[in-house]
């Protein structure tokens, strides 16, 4: 008898201990949940960005829940991998909105994925906010539910091109781009040529831009052709991983001229490709930037990234980690301040409240400064033109994407 009582006590104690271990660390959570969705590319060509995005979101989730949740409700971020495939991103959004009943979605990352996913967000009436898409007009074509916490590449190029032209006395330039990437193609073939001409820079291969395909290692023929044109600088329309191939080939053929591109160039990996070739690119965040909130974010996230398997040792928080952190933080602020209940019966009304809150948001405290949204659904925020050389980024121009220039 005594034995069975002791056994019962032991089992009860173990069950209690297990329940305590399983309970969330949040102190003020009352059983309600606030669900936010996220679409990131954890596999495929941008897996690094997707994986660091995931670590960032987990960090934010833990931080919010440890501080008592969102209005007392537990925050749950449901994350799906789109493998950088537009169709998979659109399916993920359908699942998040239709099955998981999330209140809003952070992502997808690429412009190609956004072009397919934003119309679905409009159809299902749920906010989708990209952390990286910057091809002109992608959110504007899908109002009122599509947003991008990024600055249009055309606005950024208007600041980076004059810096390049004046600093390096650039009179003519040649263009090369990754033909399989939507934003890279837009930057290289549409945005840059027009702005370069406005600043008196001749595009030597205008109408015959050189291209390569994502994943190609050999761009020797393209670089030899560029060298034969003898330009003062090069436009590279590509994300950093593809641009590395071009930079390495330039260096291999002994062609050391400045390079200009869009936000997809920003990464720490590109700095090691050819440290003596100056790279001019725009950013709204970079890991070594000198802003208090950004420094705090990096100090918090960096150790977690280092602990994560499948990420290189030199990994640093990316601009897109900062953006997705801000995206979900804005959703949380909307939930807290716009009277979102999180009740399943109020789902449609809650989603509309979040959309309206974001639409009218002014001066949200982002990592690089205040954030608002323009009528196109794109962020109005501070940006920097940075110069990569000698394995580090340095800010050379400060700018603001709002019409009044007030960030």
């Amino acid at each position: 008898m005594t034995q069975s009582i002791l056994k019962g006590i032991a089992v009860g104690a173990l069950a209690l201990a297990a329940a305590a271990a399983a309970a969330p660390s949040a102190m003020a959570q009352d059983g309600r949940q606030i669900r936010i969705g996220a679409i990131v590319p954890s596999s495929g060509p941008f897996a690094e960005w997707g994986r660091t995005n995931t670590v960032t979101l987990k960090m934010l989730e833990d931080k919010i829940n440890a501080a008592g949740g969102v209005n007392g409700a537990k925050l749950e971020i449901v994350i799906y991998d789109d493998a950088t495939k537009p169709a998979q991103a659109a399916n993920s959004l359908r699942k998040l909105a239709g099955d998981d009943n999330v209140l809003a979605v952070a992502g997808p990352l690429t412009s190609s994925a956004c072009e397919v996913t934003f119309p679905v967000a409009n159809q299902m009436e749920i906010v989708a906010m990209s952390q990286a898409s910057s091809k002109p007009g992608v959110a504007a074509n899908n109002r009122p539910w599509a947003f991008r916490n990024t600055v249009d590449e055309a606005i950024l190029a208007k600041a980076s091109v004059p810096y390049l032209a004046e600093t390096f006395d650039v009179k003519d330039i040649a263009v090369i781009y990754d033909a399989k990437d939507a934003v890279s193609t837009a930057i290289a073939t549409k945005i840059m040529p027009g702005i370069l001409k406005e600043h008196g820079v001749e595009v030597l291969n205008d109408g015959d831009f050189l291209s390569f395909n994502t994943g190609e290692l050999d761009v020797s023929a393209q670089v030899t052709k560029i060298i034969s044109l003898d330009p003062d600088a090069i436009v590279i329309g590509a994300d950093y991983s593809e641009a590395i191939t071009v930079l390495r080939e330039m260096r291999r053929q002994g062609f050391v001229k400045p390079v200009i591109g869009g936000t997809p160039l920003i990464s720490s990996a590109i700095l090691h490709a050819a440290p003596d070739i100056p790279i001019i690119a725009p950013a709204t965040f970079y890991a070594s930037m000198d802003e208090p909130r950004a420094k705090e974010f990096v100090a918090e996230l960096q150790p977690l990234l280092k602990e994560t398997s499948g990420l290189p040792e030199s990994i640093e928080p990316s601009m897109y980690d900062a953006n997705i952190y801000e995206n979900v933080s804005m959703f949380i602020e909307a939930v807290e301040k716009a009277g979102v209940t999180g009740n399943p019966d109020d789902l449609a009304a809650d989603r509309t409240k979040i959309r309206d809150y974001i639409t009218n948001l002014k001066g949200f405290e982002g990592l690089g400064g205040p954030i608002s949204f323009n009528k196109d659904g794109d962020a109005e925020k501070a940006f920097f033109i940075v110069r990569g050389e000698g394995e580090k980024w340095t800010t050379v121009v400060h700018g603001c994407s709002s019409q009044g220039g007030d960030c």
Partner: protein
């Protein structure tokens, strides 16, 4: 620019030749297209570059890359070829495609999706002759490509293993009656294709001083085109078709427009298949080996 582009084309062609040889060996002997070879050379590139970055000398890095690709190739033989060897040809094509996706995923999970870059100094010195220049790695890639074809050709024609491979390819049943072990030779064919993919991967990685997990698809497809154009059953065909495709691709970029180069390369492949289905150096159309 013309001479420099010719050198670029020959180097690119040598890269295609090395990988096409690997495809050609399995295709010619076993009659299957082992799609996973495209990722085997990528895997070898990652292993080789990692070994170099860890401070190992080039011969050991090359050996590590070859070992990685060869072992993986033999594993593919057991898991993706043996169980479906009696199925229609499409089945091993699909199982090896599955293996290629798995290899790419493993590499992305282990090394990440960023390009793996060798330190700056590995870009190497270039020899300059007036307006043209050539890197030492370019010369090594071209020389290895020619040497690989020669060694493989010698092996297939002159050695006991080669005779066995040819006999098995010609007629499996008769080969068995003559005492040739088809199972053992299948392992040899997969192992040899792994060795070739391994050599290609490490050399390509060193030549570009970088490798990405997504290089397999683009380069692998071009290598298949080289194999088809050269003649599936004739390894010497790869030595002719590789530089031919490489030079045509490079010249299209230089003088025709980079946007149409794939159209030109694959258009040429279709044209040759229409005019000469057995490829440039292929024998009679019936001269395709049976599956072992």
């Amino acid at each position: 620019m013309l001479l420099q582009q010719l050198i670029n084309g020959l180097t690119l062609g040598a890269v295609y030749t090395l990988i096409a040889l690997s495809f050609s060996l399995v295709m010619g002997i076993l009659g299957i297209l082992n799609i996973a070879i495209a990722e085997l050379f990528m895997l070898a590139g990652f292993i080789g570059i990692s070994a170099l970055m860890a401070g190992l000398p080039f011969p050991l890095a090359l050996a590590a890359g070859i070992a990685g690709a060869t072992i993986t190739s033999i594993v593919i033989k057991f898991v993706a070829y043996d169980p479906v060897r009696s199925s229609p040809v499409i089945t091993p094509l699909l199982t090896t495609l599955g293996c290629s996706i798995i290899i790419q995923n493993v590499v992305v999970n282990y090394w990440g999706s960023n390009p793996l870059q060798l330190p700056f100094e590995f870009l190497g010195e270039r020899l300059r002759y007036g307006p043209i220049s050539i890197g030492s790695m370019q010369i090594l890639v071209m020389a290895t490509s020619v040497a690989s074809v020669a060694v493989l050709g010698f092996m297939i024609q002159r050695t006991r293993i080669g005779r066995g491979l040819r006999a098995a390819a010609e007629n499996r049943d008769v080969a068995r009656l003559l005492g040739v072990s088809a199972d053992r030779l299948t392992i040899v064919a997969f192992a040899l294709s792994g060795v070739l993919a391994g050599i290609a991967g490490v050399l390509i990685g060193m030549h570009y001083a970088a490798i990405t997990p997504y290089v397999g698809v683009e380069t692998g497809l071009k290598a298949i085109a080289v194999m088809v154009v050269g003649g599936v059953t004739r390894i010497w065909g790869a030595l002719l078709a590789g530089p031919l495709i490489g030079i045509i691709e490079v010249m299209t970029i230089a003088y025709g427009g980079s946007q149409i180069r794939d159209l030109v390369v694959y258009g040429l492949m279709i044209l040759i298949l229409l005019i000469r289905p057995q490829g440039l150096l292929g024998g009679r159309s019936s001269d395709t080996g049976q599956r072992v």
